[in-house]
Symmetry: C2
Subunit: 141 residues, 2 copies
DNA sequence: ATGCAAATGAGAATGATTACCATTACCGGC
DNA sequence: GCCGGTAATGGTAATCATTCTCATTTGCAT
């Protein structure tokens, strides 16, 4: 399903700002972007979108299931493209790098923990805050 | 270790506002409180503390390890007394109830996930967002 | 008791996000 | 391909949580 179809499916008009934002997430090298990030990247590429629009569009995309919103430590929301495969995140406190991982055992234990206590799960978030210790971390300890 | 000792250990003067806040968490029925919650509760009990002080004190206590800060969905921070036993949280999206749980398997799988990828873990947060379906939920579905 | 550094509190300032509203851009029907 | 209505945009003001500033007060060691 391409971007245009995505928007239609979500009942959203196919407008320039929305396509630009989707593109950013679609082909970008960085998967995890805040509203401010998106705004600045669009400005940098000469695309002129208002900050208010960026916030609106991100929220709409989240509600439409196109994006996933994260609340890492800190104040601002971060978004990533929803590609259907749930995963959790490791955030490097030194360089900000975000690594994704999936552990079937963790997933099933979570479901069980909630079910055992009589809860019907909507979703869940697991963030591990850590330091890169491999060469890849520019601020490595 | 009592409250006074706690403060001393943390290198914090034993002042009235600080003791009042500690008391709130110590004997309160609700373990999870936001800054605004704390402020309102103190006002309600006739104790007159400034909002700025509440924020300051909560942050100091967090740094001293007396409190743990959580970022549930939504914008505001929530604090709970650190009683040494790590646990994760299930948050009811209907009534706001917060239930704590601990799963050793989840913990160890998390450690492994991070270690396998070359990370040195600081801490982690696992929140399950769900609906109470037991009689206990006032807004039960 | 005394003094001084640390803590407090009121209100201003900040940063992220949302609301308002006048202007503009989609999209279906002619 | 043009028109109109409606939804979308964007600039700015407003809001919300949180932090900063700074004059005043308090805890605590002497």
């Amino acid at each position: 399903m391409d971007h245009l179809t995505h928007l239609k499916t979500a009942g959203l008009k196919s407008t320039l700002p929305r396509l630009k934002v989707l593109n950013l997430f679609g082909n970008g090298n960085e998967r995890h972007l805040s509203a401010e990030d998106v705004y600045k990247k669009l400005l940098a590429s000469g695309d002129d979108v208002g900050l208010a629009t960026v916030y609106r569009v991100l929220t709409q995309f989240e509600q439409a299931g196109l994006l996933i919103r994260h609340h890492f430590e800190g104040d601002k929301s971060v978004f990533e493209l929803n590609e259907g495969k749930h995963h959790d995140h490791i955030v490097c406190l030194q360089c900000g790098r975000i690594e994704e991982f999936y552990d079937a055992t963790i997933e099933s234990r979570q479901k069980k923990a909630a079910a055992d206590r009589g809860y019907s799960v909507h979703d869940h978030s697991l963030y591990i805050y850590a330091d890169c210790i491999k060469p890849k971390c520019p601020n490595r300890l």
